[in-house]
């Protein structure tokens, strides 16, 4: 099965942000549509605030579970520097959905390393498209930081080979089963994420027009 018939989505962030759960929900949506899917993580000690990268591949028949550098259709960065760390996994010119929130690790606080000045600019300089928005601020505005991963799922929903409503349904199905009182808030978070992505796409378009003018 040639690569082109498989959708490769790489979701990255830090242990505890809900990266693996978000990817699992995405996988459930793809499976509900009849796709084959494989999902894999590099997250050995992720519970301790380390890097998490979650690979999702879906299509007619998936063989290797791993996305190779240069082949991801979509990169979803739950944290700014993590989006930058993994951007070379995208196919040339590919799209990054990026939470601009910065989570600074102890090695930076200790002065051993610097946090990149402008991760967004670094990614754009490498020729990738970026839709950037502050998912943490959106989640806080809705009243719960834990809504961040639903915001990110909402942002992804217009960049999948299936309608946004399918992904929304996969999100809500989980909450209906586990935390029914959180269904409404998660629907709001999903829609806010979707709107943030659309606004970011619009901003980018205006930037380009400004540059051309």
């Amino acid at each position: 099965m040639p690569d082109s018939q498989i959708t490769n989505i790489l979701v990255v962030g830090i242990g505890g942000q809900g990266v693996m759960t978000a990817t699992e929900i995405l996988a459930e949506a793809a499976i509900a549509l009849g796709h084959d899917a494989k999902k894999t993580e590099v997250a050995g000690m992720a519970q301790r605030g380390g890097v998490v990268s979650s690979h999702l591949r879906f299509g007619a028949k998936v063989l290797s579970p791993q996305i190779m550098p240069g082949t991801a259709d979509l990169l979803v960065g739950f944290e700014a520097a993590e989006a930058m760390r993994w951007c070379h996994y995208l196919k040339p010119g590919g799209l990054v959905l990026m939470n601009t929130a910065r989570l600074v690790p102890p090695v930076v606080d200790l002065g051993l390393y610097d946090y990149p000045q402008d991760p967004l600019d670094e990614i754009r300089k490498r020729g990738y498209q970026v839709h950037a928005f502050d998912a943490m601020a959106i989640a806080l505005e809705l009243g719960d930081m834990r809504l961040g991963n639903t915001v990110m799922l909402g942002a992804m929903s217009d960049h999948l080979p299936f309608p946004a409503s399918i992904l929304l349904e996969a999100v809500l199905k989980r909450f209906r089963a586990k935390k029914p009182q959180m269904v409404e808030l998660n629907q709001k978070a999903f829609e806010a994420g979707r709107a943030a992505d659309q606004a970011a796409a619009h901003d980018k378009h205006e930037d380009r027009e400004a540059a051309e003018a």
């Binding site: 459930e28 899917a37 494989k38 605030g49 993590e82 070379h88 690790p105 200790l110």
Partner: protein
């Protein structure tokens, strides 16, 4: 995990390799399953513990877990044991004689190799155990195969009365894929039958069993040659025979992904190697390439049988053999242009795992970092992170429980340059019970001068807080007798006055206790007694915040190493002595802080106070 248990037969589920094996073990009518937690194997027993109609346990170590399942298999029950690769080093003593007795009930031993070292101290290849112990090895290459092979393994084990090793790797254990599941078929225990010549392995008894093991080798080889788990997967282009691959495990998927047209010999029953079948396959291709993670086992066996092949001379002996490793290697082999160089990764700081906010180990490492002239023998668990910044307070780590013996060796083997060094050993509660207490007994018995810090956080923290005899919780979270560590070490022979139970959040007491005990030339045990912050026993306290105007930038709190403390500003300053220092002004992320007070204690200007909860919580935004 919850999705696994009630799922009806024929359901198609998204399961990790661990979940798939657990489901298959349950469906196979297994009655007893045991394991010690270890990444990437842990979820097999976690999931099994949610199924009805079978006994599951967290054992104190892998050797005991294997012995429990051997006993169950002797009694005629189907039994299952899971462990990470290094666990088998511990269990091998039982394994190497188990192979002589064989079993009655089917026994499947899943060994999870951490290829790629996501969470382990080495990258050993468990397929060696098949060769060493004369046992069959099955190697699945995704969740569906893991499920199917585990079921085949039980039938096979019972039919040949031989334990089967299911060799998995991280890229099987932790990858989720679709699996079609079936139903549980109960399997009654045949009952234990006294047969000393078979079950009592004295030299005379074992001597008679060894020739039977060699006879079984021949049967196993014939089975491997005939097994449908070993097959040729012709590629999309049957005319292109320039390269044929021999591969197993996750590498099979990588080979198929990278070379959809090439012929592939897929090994599922990979030990003993089906040499005749492979010889026939080799004759159909120009070049035979063996793609195996980690060691060149199949490659060397093929070469030994006179079958020309290529393997580790073009492929790495370390890490996974993913398509991006395979493609350039094969292109070079064929003299084809190597695929173009890809975009280089952007330079970003490393983000190593950290201790949790308010972790009780922070107090221990903050204190150890303040004490000079000590050598610290460490062990395996979250507290291995003490080797990192800002503490740099752990000097050795090799294997479970090794902190004890190594500390004694550092003491007895000390040279002239170390004569004034104090030896400290640091070990967690579960690791101590796993394999550390024998080492402590050795220190006591042989008169070692070691100060042991026993970090009792009532959990196997690193793997997710599973119960153990130190937590007093069983695999189902039920109450079990809890080990009293102070009485345990006393009964091993540590003097009562040399045993201290200390709260690791009380820094002055901890500091004073360690300082005093390292001066005394005999063995001491200091037990720290606060729960892991990730388990239910942990109770959050009111968070703290920094009064910005009071912070003098001394950085003492930064040395605690808590991830909730962030440096907001750095300044250079010259002390009256003329020495230049860097000031670090800080803030506390009140949304993350759980009020352990470790940072409050070293704060010279009393700038850290309980947060005013009437104001919005402080979230650090950079």
């Amino acid at each position: 995990m919850a999705a696994v248990m009630p799922a009806p037969s024929n359901a198609r589920l998204l399961l990790s390799g661990n979940e798939a094996v657990a489901r298959a073990v349950w469906e196979s009518g297994c009655r007893v399953a045991a394991a010690y937690p270890g990444t990437p194997s842990t979820e097999m027993l976690e999931v099994l513990s949610t199924y009805p109609d079978m006994y599951t346990e967290w054992s104190v170590n892998e050797k005991v877990s294997l012995e429990v399942t051997i006993g169950a298999a002797y009694a005629g029950s189907r039994a299952f044991c899971a462990m990470k690769h290094v666990g088998m080093n511990v269990a091998a003593d039982a394994l190497m004689t188990l192979t002589l007795t064989g079993v009655i009930g089917g026994l499947v031993i899943a060994i999870a190799d951490d290829v790629g070292l996501s969470s382990s101290q080495n990258e050993q290849d468990s397929r060696y155990w098949g060769r060493f112990a004369h046992l069959p090895v099955f190697e699945p290459s995704d969740s569906q195969e893991a499920y199917e092979m585990a079921k085949v393994a039980f039938d096979f084990s019972e039919r040949l009365q031989v334990p089967v090793i299911l060799r998995m790797t991280t890229r099987i254990n932790h990858v989720k894929g679709l699996v079609t599941v079936g139903e549980r078929v109960p399997h009654a225990a045949a009952g234990f039958k006294k047969e000393p010549a078979r079950w009592v392995m004295t030299p005379a008894g074992a001597g008679k069993r060894i020739p039977l093991m060699f006879e079984r080798d021949k049967t196993l080889l014939a089975e491997a040659e005939a097994s449908s788990l070993n097959f040729v997967d012709e590629g999309a282009d049957t005319n292109d025979r320039r390269v044929g691959f021999v591969t197993a495990g996750p590498a099979y998927m990588h080979v198929r992904e990278a070379f959809p047209k090439a012929p592939v010999f897929k090994l599922g029953f990979s030990c003993p190697v089906p040499i005749q079948k492979l010889r026939q396959f080799a004759a159909t291709v120009d070049k035979l390439v063996v793609v195996e993670e980690v060691e060149p086992l199949v490659e060397n066996e093929l070469k030994g049988a006179g079958i020309a092949c290529i393997g580790k001379d073009i492929l790495p002996r370390q890490g996974e053999l993913a398509p991006n490793i395979l493609k350039p290697a094969i292109a070079r082999l064929l003299g084809e242009p190597v695929p173009e160089g890809l975009a280089a990764p952007a330079p970003v700081f490393p983000r190593p795992p950290t201790m949790c906010v308010a972790c009780p180990h922070l107090g221990v490492y903050y204190t150890l970092a303040q004490i000079k002239n000590i050598t610290i023998s460490g062990d395996i668990g979250c507290y291995t992170l003490g080797a990192g910044h800002p503490w740099n307070a752990l000097d050795t780590t090799i294997s479970m429980g090794a902190s004890m013996g190594i500390a004694l060796g550092l003491d007895k083997g000390r040279g002239e340059t170390d004569k004034d060094k104090r030896i400290v050993a640091v070990i967690g509660d579960s690791t101590f019970l796993h394999m550390g207490m024998q080492g402590l007994l050795d220190i006591v018995y042989n008169g070692g001068n070691v100060t042991v810090l026993l970090l009792d956080n009532r959990a196997v923290g690193m793997t997710g807080g599973q119960g153990n005899p130190g937590s007093g919780k069983g695999i189902h979270g039920d109450e079990r007798p809890r080990v009293d560590f102070a009485r345990l070490v006393e009964s091993l022979g540590v003097k009562k006055e040399r045993i201290h139970v200390v709260d690791p959040y009380q820094l002055p007491v901890l500091f004073k206790t360690i300082r005093e005990e390292i001066k005394i030339p005999e063995v001491s045990v200091i037990i720290t007694d606060q729960p892991c912050v990730l388990i239910d026993d942990y109770k959050k306290q009111k968070p703290y915040e920094v009064i910005d105007e009071k912070c003098t930038g001394c950085g003492n709190c930064v040395d605690v190493g808590c991830p909730a403390i962030h440096v907001t500003r750095r300044e250079k300053s010259v002390k009256p002595s003329g020495k230049e220092v860097e000031l670090q002004f800080v803030t506390i992320e009140t949304t993350a802080c759980t009020g352990c007070s470790l940072c409050v204690q070293p704060c010279a200007p009393d700038a850290i106070v309980h947060a005013d909860l009437t104001k919005p919580m402080r979230l650090v935004r950079h």
